[in-house]
Amino acid sequence: MTKPINLDLTVALLGAQGVVSTPESAEATARFATLVLKNSAQAFAQLAFEDEPSGYTAALRKNAP
């Protein structure tokens, strides 16, 4: 079970970037980050050491008809 991202930490993280959050937006941010990081963790763990973003353009062109 992934622990939800702490709300105070979220507010501090946004504040450190110069953005003042509202209680509503901070809660939505914590909820969103918790969910997407959890849902992607396993796929990221399976990435090969050499995979890099440019692999996408190569795959796009390679799979064209």
Binding site: S25, V36, K62
Partner: protein, 471 residues
């Protein structure tokens, strides 16, 4: 030809009528302008209508034709576009309160190519604030309303594009699709729409939301119109270094290709999870139509799309937050609560997670092509798994229901943005409530031609794209 008949013409048919002098560009423009003024109080589809400029342009188009000069395949066709495409000397609203501080120095490539083809822009259309909303709500300019029932959402972010095309208040409209923003309004409003392959259409002069995901494409009444417009706007562009260099196929000729023998995949996973039975039945009926024109339908297994969906959300959020960073710091109060909350989410994505999302993208596309396109030519799926909600039901602002609603609405559209594959959205029928339902056909990268061939063949057996709402 009476006004109703003029409004019922497709772009292709209208262009032919003008070219053959059955109809003047001025008459076509006057008719669509009157229609736009009539439906605007009910739908809130337009943010600006340029009546005088449009009529002047139509007069010039008629003069050109009288001199024997046909500008191109869209000569004299009136169009309005999502208010995020730059027009030299004008400032786009982006659907928000914070907009450009000065007029655009150059016209968007997509608009410029439509100009060269002879289309005439007569207005700009409502949209989700900064194209960052999938429902059609706009807290600055008023919510856009569905032409089939104004109590219901249009879908977004190309909300005005969807409802104006459905209402016969424009012959076609540019939208943009970063997480579903062409396909969602096409589905909820009952139009066709094409989200092209990433990099197929130049993004130069289009408001950015997420530079790794943004695509430019049209919504129109027919697949043929979508093919005609995509053929006009696609292709390499020196102003957008990410645009793909390959030449654009002849999409209109490709539509005549036989579809018998093509294989359509029906996904066993993900797309039908908790799908509304009425929508599932319409999907089955549309697959039966494809069988009737000679296509083969087979079930196909998909990779796990949940992780890719999350990766896509992280890329969009992080890139949008970076683009909006300065305004978030200095003018946060000028965003609606919903867009502000969604933009702030990107600031909480670790750089490593953003980069892993990009690293995974090529791996995902390879896996998807191997799993799906080694077995089928296209993948068929619903665009959403639920019936169209009302504007009131989805009016969540920036509150606690926000994340769940966004995830629900875009769940079936985002995977294609992550993969970057082309997707044709087209009409699949109507629910018992009288609201349209759409389907999506996903193709191989840069294989829009096969989608157009199948979609056009389907529309030759179906009348859904010909039905117009009563307003």
């Amino acid at each position: 030809m009476n006004d109703t008949a003029i409004l019922e013409l497709s772009c292709t048919a209208l262009a032919g009528a003008i070219r053959d002098r059955q109809l003047s560009a001025v008459k076509a423009m006057e008719t669509v302008l009157a229609r736009a003024q009539t439906v605007q109080p009910k739908l809130n589809a337009f943010l600006r209508i340029d009546t005088d400029l449009a009529l002047d342009a139509a007069r010039l188009a008629d003069k050109d034709l009288a001199r024997g000069h046909l500008r191109g395949p869209l000569h004299g066709v009136p169009m309005a576009h999502k208010d995020m495409y730059y027009r030299k000397g004008l400032a786009s609203s982006y659907g928000g309160k914070i907009g450009p501080t000065r007029p655009a120095p150059a016209t968007a490539t997509a608009l410029a190519r439509l100009d060269v083809a002879g289309a005439i822009q007569f207005g700009v259309l409502n949209m989700a604030e900064f194209a960052f909303g999938p429902t059609g709500h706009n807290y600055h300019y008023g919510h856009c309303r569905n032409a089939w029932n104004p109590d219901y959402i249009t879908g977004g972010s190309s909300s005005g594009s969807g409802t104006a095309v459905a209402a016969r208040a424009t012959y076609a409209a540019l939208g943009s699709d970063t997480g579903g923003s062409i396909r969602l309004p096409a589905t909820f409003c009952g139009t066709s729409g094409i989200k092209p392959t990433y990099a197929r259409v130049s993004r130069a002069g289009a408001m950015p939301l997420s530079f790794s995901m943004d695509t430019v494409g049209p919504l129109a009444r027919t697949v043929e119109d979508c093919a005609l417009i995509l053929a006009t706007i696609a292709g390499p562009d020196a102003r957008d270094p990410t645009s793909d260099p390959r030449p654009v196929p002849d999409y209109l000729s490709a539509m005549a290709r036989p579809v018998a023998g093509l294989t359509i995949g029906r996904p066993r996973q993900y797309f039908y999870d908790a799908c509304d039975p009425e929508i599932a039945a319409l999907m089955d009926a549309s697959l039966e139509s494809f069988r009737s024109i000679g296509a083969k339908v087979v079930d196909v297994d998909l990779p796990d799309l949940e992780a890719w969906n999350a990766a896509c959300a992280m890329i969009i959020s992080a890139e949008a937050a970076a683009l909006h960073g300065n305004w978030l710091r200095t003018r946060a109060q000028d965003y609606s609560a919903q867009v502000r909350a969604r933009l702030e989410q990107g600031l909480a994505i670790p750089a490593t997670a953003y980069l892993d999302s990009l690293r995974l993208r090529g791996v995902a596309l390879e896996e998807f092509c191997r799993s799906v396109f080694s077995k089928v030519d296209v993948l068929h799926a619903p665009v959403v798994a639920f019936q169209t909600p009302t504007i009131a039901q989805t009016d969540v602002g920036g509150g606690p229901k926000l994340s769940a609603l966004m995830a629900q609405v875009t769940r079936l559209t985002r995977p294609a943005n992550y993969l970057g594959v082309p997707v044709l959205s087209l009409q699949a029928g109507f629910t018992r409530a009288g609201l349209p339902v759409g389907m999506q056909l996903l193709g191989r990268p840069f294989d829009e031609a096969t989608l157009f061939a199948l979609g056009n063949a389907y529309q030759s057996t179906s009348d859904f794209h010909r039905l117009a709402p009563t307003l």
